[in-house]
């Protein structure tokens, strides 16, 4: 037995010894989702359910002077009108919630909303987040700090090459396909069952309990499936609290799912960022100084992206002067949006870098490579750039900006950008049960946003016990299960991987001890694979026989949180390269190819990992080329808050996508790192740089719509 302690060390198997971990495994809940059997909160429809529509403000900033719901209450089918903001309350954006109407049918609820009489007193309104001088004049701008090094001016004077430019990236919405919402059903006066579309199942009961005055122990939150979150579905939200309260008052189940316009306006947007930037470099192109003033809006609170991410990735520039201004606007509030602040920071910073390279006549690839010493991961980025350049045939295909061939009025261009993210594991608890028949179950309150949480848990269990996926049952998405962290910031797969593997090994070792005792072999020599227990390469018994030694009761183990045992880690780099064609007559940008070279430590399921990267690229293409929140300056209204006018790419708009994992042995040994955020970050900068490479002029503000491209081209001619 003396060997046992040394061989029994928590960790992943040596690379090459895995049978399923790291391979392409189709999602275990794929058929449920694709066949429509999977039930989302928006699908819950128990008998007696009432459906809710909201009255929201059509003014960006106003005081409610009159609110009469009597006629609404008389609309056939309407059972309840719940006032959220009463007379004399202020509304702070177009879409701010005022009242909720519950009816037997959704059509009746809509009619009820129309029957509400409301009058406003319009208050001072400001919505422009791009013009910082105008914001200062309107007293909506607030300095959020300045930082500078004492030698900045000298460094700027000494710089051999300088570039100054303006860059920007507007507010976008999360646009979850399943809007924010829930279905609340009181089982009796004290007990609430809530199906919630949430990224944090464990966090819901406390919020609903305090809103309804019951004990949190009496609230069960369920989230078996969630139709998109992207950072906007952590809290129950005002709509979620309203749903629970209305169900309590009505004594009937209530389903409250936001209508599409409200979904775009209210439960979350990504802050905008605009900047004036100056970059300086020495004779050879080594960046020596950085000056930036960036501003933007996060809604009424008036923030913009963090100061720590500007400049982005190239954080070790010695001399800098940085200033940040927040603009308070009468627009919807912000929520974390996939990789908070990073995509904006990349779009501001790495475009300015690229413009300096162009000004110096340097190949962007050479320029970025030369300056990798200013990043935290020079070797990693160098390797990834080299892999990327090979795949894109960069050396043969790159040309100086605007100097490529014109084919049918189209110019082609290449661009690149870099990114970084943490992705450390969140604090998740997992309980494991090995049944006497050999089946294995895990329970945890965690949720699957589409990253493949269920599948990754199943893969780890199958690998650990040497059993097929069909012998594994994964239970997630109930607040009654062991507490799990919210799924945000690429923390979930790491968050579940550590505890699942740890609890799995503990259970396995206990079973191997039983086998050793029964068969009189050394426990340290035993291993589990192919549904058998081996001593060295000799079969001792089947997995099922081994589990039979448990007797009638199952074996249970549990584990929680992240530990320094090598199972998980954090900190990744990653690079992206874009190949675009720009029609200089129409201004239309077409994607030819988009590549992400990504490091992410140990890969659990290659297929879902790859999908995270591809999905990130597509979301990146979306905010680079078409999507943005458009606020009408005259009325302050969000004028494209619907799926037709808020432009998302379609299946024919994305070109060829390549997800290339950077995975030398030290990456495998690193442990699991989350992958949700990284691939969405540098797409905007890479595509903007590719367009500049194609047409020879910078289109300063994303998305690169035909109008903006044509304006930039026109400006270049003038």
């Amino acid at each position: 037995m003396s060997d046992t302690a040394t061989t029994r060390k928590v960790g992943w198997k040596p690379r090459g010894e895995n049978t399923i971990l790291g391979t392409r495994v189709p999602r275990i809940d794929g058929v449920e989702k694709a066949s429509g059997a999977a039930k989302y909160a928006a699908d819950i429809n128990t008998p007696g359910t009432l459906y809710v529509r909201l009255l929201t403000s059509d003014r960006p900033h106003a005081k409610i002077k009159k609110l009469d719901v009597k006629k609404a209450e008389k609309v056939p089918g309407v059972k309840m009108v719940h006032i959220i903001k009463d007379v004399d309350s202020e509304v702070h954006w177009d879409g701010d919630m005022i009242a909720a109407v519950a009816a037997e049918r959704i059509e009746q609820a809509m009619e009820g909303v129309k029957a509400i009489e409301i009058e406003y007193e319009t208050l001072d309104t400001y919505v422009d987040d791009r013009d910082v001088a105008a914001a200062e004049k309107a007293k909506r701008a607030k300095s959020l700090g300045k930082r500078e090094t004492k030698d900045f001016d000298a460094a700027l004077t000494a710089a051999a090459h300088k570039h100054t430019g303006f860059y920007g990236i507007p507010v976008i919405s999360h646009m979850c396909m399943e809007p924010h919402g829930s279905h609340c059903e009181w089982k009796d006066k004290e007990n609430l069952l809530a199906h919630v579309s949430t990224q944090w199942t464990s966090g819901i009961p406390g919020q609903l309990a305090s809103a309804t005055g019951v004990d949190a122990a009496n609230v069960t939150a369920i989230c078996n499936y969630i139709g998109g979150g992207f950072g906007s579905k952590f809290s129950a939200g005002e709509w979620g609290l309203v749903c629970a309260v209305m169900a309590q008052k009505a004594g009937r189940p209530i389903r409250l799912v936001l209508d599409r316009a409200t979904e775009l306006k209210t439960p979350g947007t990504r802050p905008s960022a605009f900047a004036e930037i100056t970059v300086g470099a020495d004779e050879k192109g080594n960046v020596t100084c950085w000056e930036s003033h960036h501003w933007g809006t996060s809604g009424p609170q008036g923030g913009t992206i963090d100061s720590g991410v500007v400049p982005y990735v190239f954080t070790k520039i010695k001399n800098y002067r940085r200033k940040r201004t927040g603009i308070a606007t009468d627009t919807g509030p912000f929520q974390a949006w996939r990789a908070p602040d990073h995509p904006q920071a990349a779009a501001l910073t790495l475009t300015a870098f690229d413009d300096l390279a162009a000004k110096m006549g340097m190949d962007s690839l050479e320029f970025f490579k030369k300056n990798l010493k200013l990043t935290l991961r020079p070797e990693l980025y160098a390797d990834e750039l080299e892999i990327g350049a090979k795949i894109m045939d960069w050396k043969a295909r790159w040309h100086p900006n605007g100097k490529g061939d014109v084919k049918n009025g189209t110019r082609q261009g290449l661009g690149l950008a870099l990114h970084t993210w943490g992705g450390g594991a969140n604090a998740t608890a997992v309980a494991l049960r090995v049944n006497p028949d050999g089946t294995v179950e895990s329970t945890s309150a965690t949720q699957d946003l589409g990253t493949g949480t269920r599948t990754c848990i199943a893969v780890i269990l199958a690998e650990t016990f040497g059993i097929p996926l069909s012998s594994v049952k994964v239970h997630i998405g109930s607040s009654k299960y062991p507490n799990a962290g919210g799924s945000g910031g690429s923390t979930t797969i790491g968050g579940v991987s550590g505890p699942v593997r740890r609890a799995g090994l503990e259970a396995l070792w206990k079973i191997l001890d039983l086998v050793a005792k029964r068969h009189k072999v050394d426990a340290g020599s035993l291993s589990a694979k192919n549904e058998k227990i081996y001593a060295g390469d000799k079969v001792v018994c089947s997995w099922q026989q081994a589990c039979g030694l448990l007797g009638a009761a199952p074996l249970e183990t549990q584990s929680r949180g992240r530990k320094n045992d090598g199972l998980t880690s954090q900190g990744v780099g990653g690079i992206q390269m874009a190949d675009v064609s720009v029609d200089v007559e129409t201004g239309v940008v077409r994607m030819n190819k988009m590549l992400c070279v990504q490091d992410c430590g140990t890969i659990i399921d290659r297929q879902t990992a790859e999908s995270q990267v591809l999905g990130g690229l597509i979301m990146g293409i979306s905010y680079s080329l078409s999507e943005e929140r458009i606020i009408d300056k005259a009325t302050g209204r969000y004028i494209n808050a619907d799926l037709e006018n808020y432009k998302l790419p379609r299946i024919g708009d994305i070109g060829e996508l390549i997800a290339e994992f950077y995975e030398p042995d030290e990456q495998y040994k690193k442990g699991v790192v989350g992958l949700g955020e990284p691939p969405v970050i540098s797409t905007g900068a890479a595509i903007s740089n590719a367009v500049a490479n194609a047409i020879g002029v910078r289109v300063p503000v994303l998305p690169l719509t035909p109008k903006r491209v044509l304006e930039a081209l026109k400006g270049a001619k003038a």
Partner: protein, 214 residues
């Protein structure tokens, strides 16, 4: 207004004029006033008329006749989801259509959120649920799972139906044709590449089958 053609076809037990009279959808009537044939109907419609009472109709869904009592203004999507508990077709809560609600009506892919349920009387409605029968699952569902053409899964059933309809219409469709035929659906998570690979693979086997039978 997307369902104008459908209403004009008078395929079911309700014709458009009856519907207009009964439902009092004043907006719809105003917008259609230019059409000569509608003049009488418009004249009959009073503003702010209380919606027509629910009516009992029979819809043929996934091969079964189902009795439902619905208001004429109820969309096929809401009828399927809330009356028949077929929640595979998803509601993105938008009047405009992006395909999460795709079902087949007489074999043609339609956005069920843009179609009135009463207008589907007498037609064959097929939802995504019809593609899975116990252990048997349609090749499109299997292909979506194989190529991971899904993440959160909310747009997926609609995309599955759009793909099924496209491949029914053109079993050996080219890549460009598939992009065109699947261009009516939107996914936010970014699963287009997997969906396209799934469709291409099935279309390739369709091309082989077509060639073989010739």
């Amino acid at each position: 207004m997307q369902d104008r053609d459908r209403q004009r076809r008078k395929s079911g037990g309700f014709n458009r004029r009856d519907f207009l009279k009964g439902s009092g959808v004043a907006m719809a009537a105003t917008a259609m006033a230019t059409a000569g044939i509608e003049e009488q109907a418009v004249a009959d419609v009073k503003p702010n008329v209380v919606p027509a009472k629910p009516v009992e109709v029979v819809l043929n869904v996934n091969g079964k006749d189902q009795k439902v009592t619905i208001e004429p203004r109820t969309s096929l999507l809401h009828c399927l989801r809330d009356d028949l508990n077929l929640t595979g077709a998803k509601d993105v809560e938008d009047g405009s259509a992006i395909g999460a609600d795709t079902v087949l009506v007489d074999g043609k892919a339609v956005h069920s959120g843009s179609v009135l349920a009463v207008s589907c009387v007498g037609q064959k409605i097929e939802t995504v649920e019809s593609l899975r029968n116990g252990d048997h699952i349609d090749e499109v569902i299997a292909g979506f799972v194989k190529h991971d053409g899904l993440q959160c899964g909310y747009c997926t059933p609609g995309f599955v139906m759009a793909t099924r309809a496209a491949l029914n219409k053109k079993p050996d469709a080219s890549v460009e044709e598939l992009k065109h035929m699947l261009g009516g659906n939107i996914c936010r998570c970014g699963t287009y590449q997997g969906i396209l690979h799934c469709a291409i693979e099935i279309a390739k086997s369709g091309a082989v089958a077509t060639k073989g039978s010739n």
